[in-house]
Amino acid sequence: MKKFLFAAVFLMVMGMINTASAVEPMEAFREPMEKILKLLGDPQYKETNTENLKRQKITIITNGLFDYTEMAKRALARNWRVFTPAQRQEFRDVFADLLENTYYNKVYGEYTNETVTYQKQHKISDVKARVETLIHRETVDIPVKYSMKLSKGVWRVYDVNIEGVSLIKNYRSQFSKILKKNKPEHLIQRLREKTAQFEKKENSEQ
């Protein structure tokens, strides 16, 4: 009986893992995105003292949605091989800081009831997909495509493409230009300085 129970539980767990990976990329994207939009539009967080709480909540959602290591790797491209493993990790962390600091206030700070339409998904392979969305903003609709990758059973975003402009490729061209003349340490240092600048600015505004 015990053995049977064990087998049953085992099968159930396997089943759950299977269903987890069977989630369609579009769904894997839509659900967290809608949660974020809901948080953004929630009047409960309009007061400044709850701003941090909102930010934390959104952070938790997006952390599961974005494959940050993959983004860092693709942004460095061939230069990834020049970086030591320790530098790679450090780079990923500071690159993450740059994105976070730049966009939080600019985008979510100025959120004006944008909505998103999830148009279609395009499966490139078993582990790669593209989800096409349309962001409705004031008087214009902006087509935004998200490149997603299935790793460890979860679909996560590794690039954002708007009207043909890839975010990661844009950073790639900047980084490769810097790395042509400088060492990895220099790039990491510059990213760190950029973050420090932002934090200084933020503190002075408060």
Binding site: I36, R55, T59, I60, T62, N63, L65, F66, Y68, T69, M71, A77, R78, W80, P85, A86, R88, Q89, R92, D93, V94, F95, A96, D97, L98, L99, E100, T102, Y103, Y104, K106, V107, Y108, E110, E114, I135, R137, E138, T139, V140, I142, P143, V144, Y146, V157, V160, N161, I162, E163, G164, V165, L167, K169, N170, S173, Q174, K177, I178, R190, L191
Partner: protein
């Protein structure tokens, strides 16, 4: 028109990337806790490198860049473009940057504060309708019949029902009548004429040799060009520009702030954007 579209790219980049930001913030919290115990971390990492890997660090030991193979080499080549006049371009980039912060932005902001949204939107529609000839001709030059007939339909409908184009009536009644805006730069690209090299023009901003030729060609199809005297013509263009900008204040700053090397970021964004426009 092209410029306006470019700005819309810039703006949308920001929206799209906003999402990426949040993931980052989570990671940064990790960093925080990591940096607290950093001395131990370093030695631990070193030993990991020597002995083999833990699960967490293995992703940073992975040298494979297989994604480079899947990326279309042809696209990469199309995007690579020379910048032989970089010193000039950088000066012009700085000039445009100052022009934006010192002149365009304050003016657009004041204008936005005074003029209601509905009026600004009508003005925007009017100018879009007015530049129909260039889009129509370029659709024909690229043998895009459907696009050309959609353009014509929109123009006729908006010029009449839409009261000289001030109201985007076609957008209201025929939302599917939404042709992709074509310009001469795209037509030339369609004819397999290369970019030439990158040029930053004062006031007009990022361009290439090919797109500059396109800009001049298209200006002959823009009614505003034929307004006399020339100062009036320039005034109208400037007004169109400010009106358009009133919808996008803050976008330029955001992309600039996001960049580690703003000059390179704008150059790359422009080239990627134009490449896609020609390809579609």
């Amino acid at each position: 028109m092209k410029y306006a579209a470019f700005f819309s790219v810039v703006l949308s980049l920001l929206l799209g990337m906003g999402c990426a930001a949040h993931n980052a913030s989570m990671e940064s919290r990790d960093v925080l806790s990591r940096s607290v115990q950093s001395p131990a971390q370093v030695t631990e990492k070193d030993s990991v490198e020597q002995q083999g890997l833990t699960e967490v660090d293995s992703e940073f030991l992975d040298d494979s860049l297989d994604f480079l193979d899947e990326e279309d080499e042809e696209i990469e080549d199309g995007i690579r473009i020379g910048d032989p006049i970089e010193p000039w371009n950088k000066v012009m980039f700085q000039f445009n940057d100052k022009l934006y912060f010192w002149v365009l932005k304050p003016v657009a902001r004041g204008y936005r504060a005074v003029v209601p949204h509905v009026v600004r939107n009508s003005v925007k529609n009017f100018f879009i309708n007015l530049t129909f000839p260039a889009r129509f001709v370029n659709s024909l030059l690229q043998a895009k019949g459907q696009n050309a007939s959609d353009e014509l339909g929109r123009f006729l409908f908006n010029s009449t029902v839409g009261v000289l184009g001030f109201w985007d009536a076609a957008g209201r009644f025929y939302p599917n009548l939404n042709p992709a805006p074509e310009d001469l730069g795209q037509t030339l690209g369609n004819y397999r004429i290369g970019h030439g090299f990158y040029i930053v023009w004062p006031i007009l901003g990022p361009s290439t040799v090919r797109d500059s030729v396109g800009l001049i060609g298209d200006s002959f199809l823009n009614p505003v060009t034929y307004v006399e005297p020339t100062t009036a013509s320039m005034g109208i263009s400037a007004y169109d520009r400010v009106n358009g900008l009133s919808f996008r204040i803050g976008d330029y700053e955001a992309l600039k702030d996001a960049a580690l090397d703003p000059y390179e970021a704008f150059r790359d964004a422009y080239i990627q954007y134009r490449y896609k426009k020609v390809a579609e």
